[in-house]
Amino acid sequence: MSALTSTLQRLYGFWWIVLPPIVGSAVMAMIIGSIVVAPREIIEGDVQRLLYIHFPSILAAYGAFGVVFLASLVVLWKRDLRWDAVARGAATVGVLFTGLTLATGALWGKPIWGVYWTWDARLTSTLVLFLIYAAYLLARSMADELDEQAARFAAVFAVLGALDIPLVMFSVTWWRTLHPQPIVMRGLERPALPPEMLLVLMIAFLGIGALALWLGILRTEAEWLAKRTATLRAKIDRHEGA
């Protein structure tokens, strides 16, 4: 067992105790903060409060897709199915939060732009991202847990998908652009958001980030348990017992 794996396992036991309370309180703080603490935005009104889910969600999704990419490389390199479970868990979380971004974006877009959906560059690239990783999950679920070759295929597809993202971004930006430029990142010294809003947004980053991490761990754990169950079943079939 590699040092990396054992370190991760130790971290894992730690997270199991610490993460649920963090997730619970941060998400609660995020909800209360975005509804009560954050001021009503003057031009856009209450619908702007979707920002606190919308923006952290897409960042969480990107983080998850990064994990899918790295875990898939390890699957191809080490042939270790534990990393297949990690990749599947992270992909599920990524798809969930990309979907959340698209859904909140649609709700936000209707009153502000007058449409739920438009083929704007960032909307399109987010949708393509959603489709790539939904296809990944679908392809992986078509074969059984222990199918090493299917895990490799899915990993190759995940690598293709990750390397496709820059090209997708680039091509759709050439194609068209409507989405507002990020407001928070405009300069770290003087952010354009009022301080209360920024505070709530920071809490939302923590809440969504912790939630994504926790869900990812739960999914990975479930995938891994399914694999172990299948292994045990195969061993029983061979009369070796557990």
Partner: protein, 231 residues
């Protein structure tokens, strides 16, 4: 004919294949002398097919390595593939092509020098010469197997790896199989088989697998990879 003890032509070291925590082939170490004919026996799921698939480079071992005619599985798979002929469950033939075209194609893949006479010789030997211009799909199961045998031997491999070679063959076909492959002089054979009744008619040794492990081995010589025999 007595088997001469010499450097093993096929040697495996701790060869293991693990699928999701299950050792399908576990720590297999065998060393087959050149010209020997080994029957690989064991129950269904004992790991015979996986072992053959690893030796033919189709499946990557989880652990261990094998050396065939001096080429390591890990280091020189392409050179190793040139030295082996494989007779698998499926005949591995293109159904829409004729026997002649099938062998012609594989002769090009293997870079067989002067392929025409070699193809004719083999097609005549397996009794398919008269039907060489028909589509392979119209030929019977037995003819498929005969053609598969010709395909496996086309590039004059040093070792034949066979998985249940008797399947689908009539008595006449089995005679051909014995003559051309299992009892062919100079050819080293490793064949997984269920036909335990036939083993002593052709094999010089036997390797028995159980749950992926070697439990009986009368085929191996004790030798080093460099080829020094220590009797």
């Amino acid at each position: 004919m007595t088997a001469i003890l010499e450097a093993p032509i096929l040697q495996t070291e701790a060869l293991t294949k693990r699928y999701g925590g299950l050792d399908v082939v576990r720590q297999v170490a065998i060393a087959l002398p050149a010209g020997s004919r080994t029957a690989l026996v064991g129950a269904n799921g004992a790991g015979k097919t996986t072992l053959l698939a690893m030796l033919s480079t189709l499946v990557t071992p989880t652990e261990g390595d094998a050396t065939i005619v001096g080429h390591s599985l890990k280091a020189r798979p392409a050179a190793l593939r040139r030295a082996i002929g494989v007779l698998a469950h499926a005949p591995m033939l293109y159904e829409e092509m004729t026997p002649l075209e099938n062998l012609g194609f594989f002769a090009r893949l293997y870079g067989v020098a002067r392929p025409e006479p070699r193809i004719e010789e083999l097609l005549r030997a397996v009794g398919v010469w008269n039907r060489r211009h028909e589509a392979t799909s119209v030929l019977s199961r037995g003819y498929h197997q005969r053609l598969a045998l010709a395909r496996a031997l086309l590039h004059r491999p040093a070792i034949l790896l066979a998985d249940e070679p008797e399947t689908g063959l009539d008595p006449e076909g089995i005679e051909l199989l014995d003559e051309l492959a299992l009892r062919a002089p100079g050819l080293t054979v490793l064949a997984a088989t269920h036909r335990v009744d036939r083993v002593e008619t052709w094999a010089t040794g036997l390797v028995r697998l159980d749950h992926g492990r070697v439990v009986e081995d009368t085929a191996s010589v004790i030798g080093t990879p460099q080829g020094q025999v220590q009797a």
